[in-house]
Symmetry: C2
Subunit: 372 residues, 2 copies
């Protein structure tokens, strides 16, 4: 291969030996994956982590790592002749699915919580997805459970796949997310020592750990797996306390975090993620929402990297683990950044609200350059 | 090389033989470039263009092709020991520069038109750029000219580089944009027959044409160059009418287009772009703003591709050229898409405003799936 071949194929095709996607049918692809792995300029040195890297998943086509799931899942739907699917998501999964379904001419109907803010839905609507808000969905545990049960019933009775980005629901599609691990290992010419990932439902953490395990198996286990560290907001601690307590099962919580996308109070893939951090010798880390926002700001101002709050959680976790003096590393450490800064404009508005944009006369330009 | 090498280097390093950037100093990079080239699923077949490709420049780190310019320009500033720069932009260039300057610890001061909308500035502010609005800048030709003249004076007197993404001002940095052409030719294993690009100032069109010319020269001119087609909104026709009239110089206009980023009424690089389309045997195409919005919508709904209005202009141009029965092609045709759908949320709101998101009861889910 030559430099020509960087993007000739989706990583879902390039790494097909580890993946369940059809190789005799065309993949539904928008150029997902092959995201940059860039070296930290300032945060790493400041934390005493000399070899820190950021995996920029926000540069995927729809702005988040969910494109790796959607590419896999929608390719499977297409290969199986499905012309419609149904889903629940008010965020990045919904946008990713809507985009890949548009490309594959598959009708995509997304069911949302009752109070889903309109602004979060524009991207899904742009791709032509049909959206419905469901009364009571998201309002209480009981009405939410009823909505999910109804969705599952309809899925079975009408023979329409219910797509949820979790191993618990769509294990084959989730395998597409493992490509994050393959790309990191290829880019660094070997696995890193430590990987930090955010945990909401737990699917990303599970997939990344499984991806590195695939590589170790393929190398006859002569290759080590990195320690996988799961980072959660304090207000959604489904696995960190269970990890500290030596338990094997995630616990349900009353979610209080304001980090959009990571408020997942029940055990979807969380026990799988807990198993992953234990198997790899990793850890669980809790972070305050305020630290996440601070790190989101630092990533933009000191690294030039623009992510939504959830996208900064892995770095906040590293920061916290170093601060607690229970983490240091000389080898490569990778933080997975998940979603674009554009995804949550309100968070950026809050971050920049105190910045003045003065109105000056042309004659004041020289002084302005000197003072800024 | 193996599949490992896809992103080991920025395209500004990978194609250094054609570029003026320092190869003995580190590049300032955020993983720009290597953007997807994806094949059209529906628009191409519908237009009778069987081999149509979209170059997805919106997946660059800050959301537009300007990252290729900023990576080059800021790398040069860093290599020359500059610790500050000044710029004018209220859009994608400002965000790209702010990001790369943040990474390089270069102070970036951006001077904006007086009525720059706050919402467009959030991304620049997030990266820590200092912003000033200049009284009268943008309000009239005279006061704008005075502001630009003052900026140029301050640049000289204080020894601070004035960064504007145009060959007229920063020809070295603009060379980074040529990498779009190299990537397209590598991905297709040869140059396409036709390339459609939007023209505002004209720099992108100029750079793409020069990039393909570099490749033809390197191949001892045994390789052809693609025809480069320049697409402009009817309301900013600086080069299309001059092209039709056989002139060599762009003309100034009173800009009336509402396509953000393409309202550039003066000849910055426009005469260079005019020369490029003439040299390559390309053409000029005018499109109505309303067609641009329609194509923006079609790209999202039928291809799964989410761009701002300016990002859809090249495709609108192809559409128009086919409709006028003066364009057909059996060989590869590439449309360059420039900026992310996230960049202009107001345009997306307009596009999706008529889409209802009904509130239903859980019991109505089955009927909703059937009807949508």
């Amino acid at each position: 291969m030559t430099v020509h071949d960087w993007r000739r194929e989706s990583p879902l095709a390039a790494y097909s030996q580890y993946l369940p996607f059809p190789i005799d049918a065309p993949l539904v692809t928008l150029g997902e994956g092959w995201t940059p792995l860039v070296r930290s300029q300032r945060i790493g040195p400041r934390l005493g982590i000399p070899n820190l890297w950021f995996k920029l998943e926000q540069t995927n086509p729809t702005g988040s790592y969910k494109d790796r799931f959607a590419a896999g899942q929608v390719s499977l739907l297409q290969a199986r002749g499905q012309t419609t699917c149904m889903a629940t998501s008010s965020g990045n999964t919904g946008s990713a699915l809507a985009a890949y379904c548009a490309r594959a001419r598959i009708r995509c109907t997304v069911f949302l919580v009752e109070d889903a803010p309109r602004g979060k839905l524009s991207q899904m609507l742009a791709y032509g997805a049909a959206l419905f808000r469901v009364r009571g969905f998201g309002a209480s545990v009981e009405s939410s459970a009823r909505a999910i049960a109804t969705l599952a019933d309809v899925s079975v009775s009408q023979g329409i796949t219910l797509v949820i980005s979790a191993y618990a629901h769509c294990p084959e599609g989730m395998e597409g997310v493992k490509t994050i691990a393959y790309e990191i290992a290829d880019r660094l010419a070997g696995p890193p020592e430590d990987v930090f990932v955010p945990v909401g439902g737990g699917g990303l953490c599970t997939a990344v750990a499984r991806g590195f395990a695939d590589l170790a198996r393929a190398a006859d286990a002569s290759q080590s797996v990195p320690r996988v560290h799961a980072v959660q907001p304090v207000g959604n601690d489904t696995i960190v306390t269970p990890w500290r307590d030596g338990r094997d099962q995630a616990r349900p919580v009353e979610s209080r975090t304001r980090i959009s996308g990571l408020a997942v109070p029940t055990d979807i893939d969380a026990s799988r993620a807990l198993a992953a951090i234990r198997t790899t010798g990793g850890s669980g880390v809790l972070v305050d929402d305020s630290l996440v926002w601070e790190v989101q700001r630092d990533l933009a101002r000191h690294e030039g990297i623009y992510v939504e709050p959830a996208g900064a959680v892995s770095v906040a976790g590293l920061w916290r683990a170093v601060g607690e003096e229970r983490f240091q590393a000389a080898g490569p450490v990778v933080c997975v950044l998940t979603g674009h800064g554009f995804k949550d404009p309100a968070a950026v508005e809050r971050m920049t609200a105190s910045e003045a944009v003065p109105l000056i006369d042309a004659g004041e330009i020289g002084a302005a350059v000197g003072s800024s």
